[in-house]
């Protein structure tokens, strides 16, 4: 339907919107307390997705106008399915949370850059809160590359942890704010409490870190990494900033770039090596 007449254009595609053949919800479940998982059938998107990429999801919520960015939790090219995991924060996620089997969704994507998952070293995945949403697909892709994976997952309570079964093949360690399950404290503390090399060591024999979570958690991770001498270039993270378009036209998703100026989370990210960010200027757009 939409034909790009000019050259040099990238090609994420809009889909759905009720014209048939678009993405359709095939499953809805509650993977952990407070969260909803929607499984969407859309073979082209499932095939195109790199772990860490996101979609701009149209929501018909009262008074809302912008799409909402959601990372794919996982995708499966064979079955044509993509999973999204989210909790209800405001109008958009509330609307999304009552989608059911058979409802069509209007997705734009996959968008942005996913994680760079190539390499040999062990990988530690650090997931804070809903940041865990991106990891089922990431872990699967890492394991498929033969890499050793440790998942560190933090949540406020045990019930808000995504079950370890979702990371089959990886080692899973947890941290909870109330201490009822795993480490008592933050997931970054958990990382710091691990034996080397897991908690970081310079140079060969080190690990790659892949992190996703609230900005304060990412900042804490950076502090820890600096103290533990984990090079920031060994850490990749998925950023969350407000987004207008998701495709580089609104310039609304700026994140401070190391060395000055701004990166666009939607185009340069959301998955970025931590040394590309100026962490001193990095702010949290969302309240705690």
């Amino acid at each position: 339907m939409s034909v790009a007449l000019e050259q040099g254009l990238k090609s994420p595609s809009p889909s759905g919107g009720g014209q048939g053949g678009g993405p359709v919800v095939v499953e809805r479940s509650v993977p952990m307390t407070g969260a909803v998982e929607l499984v969407v059938y859309h073979p082209p998107s499932a095939a195109a997705l790199d772990p860490g990429q996101f979609f701009q999801v149209a929501v018909s919520a009262p008074h809302s106008v912008l799409r909402r960015p959601y990372s794919a939790a996982w995708s499966d090219a064979a079955s044509g399915r993509i999973g999204f995991i989210f909790n209800v924060v405001g109008a958009g996620s509330a609307w999304l949370s009552v989608r059911h089997e058979g409802h069509e969704l209007d997705l734009l994507g996959p968008l942005g850059r996913g994680f760079d998952l190539e390499g040999e070293r062990p990988v530690i995945c650090v997931a804070g809160g809903l940041g865990v949403a991106v990891f089922p697909g990431v872990v699967k892709a890492l394991l498929a590359r033969g890499r050793k994976v440790t998942v560190l997952q933090g949540a406020r309570t045990a019930a808000q942890l995504l079950p370890a079964a979702r990371f089959a093949g990886a080692e899973v360690k947890t941290a909870t704010d109330d201490g009822r399950q795993g480490h008592h404290g933050s997931v970054v503390d958990l990382l710091a409490s691990l034996p080397p090399p897991l908690r970081g060591r310079v140079g060969e024999g080190g690990v790659d870190v892949v992190a996703c979570g609230p900005t304060p958690m990412l900042k804490a991770l950076i502090d820890t990494a600096r103290r533990r001498e984990i090079p920031l270039s060994d850490i990749q993270m998925a950023l969350e900033t407000p987004m207008g378009c998701g495709i580089g036209t609104c310039l609304g998703c700026a994140a401070p770039r190391a060395g000055g100026g701004y990166l666009l989370t939607c185009q340069d990210g959301p998955c970025l090596r931590a040394d590309r960010i100026d962490w001193d200027r990095m702010t949290d757009a969302f309240h705690g």
């Binding site: 939409s2 790009a4 000019e6 106008v65 799409r67 900033t241 609304g252 700026a254 702010t283």
Partner: protein, 310 residues
């Protein structure tokens, strides 16, 4: 009527569009992103606001959603006119779609310098003077004062042969006075409107949501306000009025065309519904056919006979 209605628009000084649907400044970058938008439906693209030197833009947070709208305070992040003239314009030259460069500045001299650099550059179809961006310090000054607005318009007018659109701010008591001033100063068309000054406060953190405090409101929320401005302008200026503000659907665009706009620009909707340009284009064509009209000039519902401009 099986005939295909004539959707062309003449904005003056040789700037002819194949479609009355334009992409608004700041919502389409420099035309290289948003491949989902069907360019065949567009009459022109207006570039991001461009200044003499590159600008980094404002610190985040730059955008916030509000009821049926969004606030932005991007702060004119752009690569500067040199990059536009040198890198982008040669690309645009190969397109069959006119690109109008939105020009911003802090002083008459800066506007003139940008216009001078772009004059005669192949691939540039026209200029849109952004005298209304509310985000940069002193950004409001030209647009709210008819005298200053005329001054900058005139200064650019004598600098360039390019078709010149002046984009009006709605944050004024009398938008018609500003429009008439820039018309007299040589503008070929006016576009109305830019965003409305607004703000949002983060109640939990007890501070403005946007790092700059305030920003510009766009989106469906402002449609009735923008339409009112265009309705007044179309009756009281002679040059074409380009309608902008909250257009999401063909019906919205038709409201502006019925109010007297010669063309429309789609802004925020480009972020949300990439298919909007195509839908609006086709919806306008369908409406003309249904109503037995052959071209857009038949649309305005009020003749310009109330024109009291001397």
């Amino acid at each position: 009527m099986a005939e295909r209605p004539d959707l062309t628009v003449d904005l003056g000084r040789g700037l002819r569009l194949r479609s009355p649907v334009m992409a608004a400044s700041g919502t389409f970058g420099y035309g290289f992103d948003a491949p989902q938008v069907d360019r065949a439906a567009l009459g022109a693209i207006v570039s991001k606001g461009t200044t003499l030197r590159p600008r980094e833009g404002n610190a985040p947070v730059r955008i916030a959603e509000t009821p049926s709208g969004m606030l932005n305070a991007i702060g004119l992040q752009n690569p500067g006119v040199e990059h536009v003239a040198h890198v982008y314009a040669p690309e645009w030259m190969t397109w069959d779609l006119p690109v109008i460069v939105n020009v911003a500045g802090d002083s008459v001299e800066e506007y003139v310098a940008v216009a001078r650099r772009l004059d005669g550059v192949a691939g540039i179809a026209g200029l849109e003077l952004n005298i209304s961006c509310p985000n940069v310090q002193r950004g409001l000054q030209f647009g709210v004062d008819p005298r200053l607005a005329a001054e900058v318009t005139h200064a650019v007018r004598v600098t360039t042969q390019l078709p010149l659109v002046v984009k009006l701010t709605p944050n004024v008591t009398d938008i018609v006075a500003v429009a008439r001033a820039v018309e007299d100063a040589g503008a070929d068309a006016v576009s109305a409107i830019n965003t409305y000054a607004g703000m949002a406060i983060d109640v939990q953190r007890r501070r403005p949501v946007l790092s700059r405090g305030s920003g510009g409101l766009s989106g469906p929320a402002i449609k009735p306000l923008a339409l009112h401005a265009v309705w007044q302008l179309a009756a009281q200026v002679r040059i074409p009025v380009i309608g902008i503000g909250g257009i999401m659907t063909p019906g919205d665009a038709l409201e502006f065309l019925l109010a007297g706009a010669a063309a429309v620009q789609l802004g925020t909707v480009n972020y949300v519904r990439p298919q909007a340009a195509r839908e609006v284009h086709d919806g306008i064509a369908g409406y003309l056919r249904e109503h037995g009209l052959t071209d857009l000039r038949a649309l305005p519902i009020r003749s310009v006979s109330v024109l009291t401009h001397a």
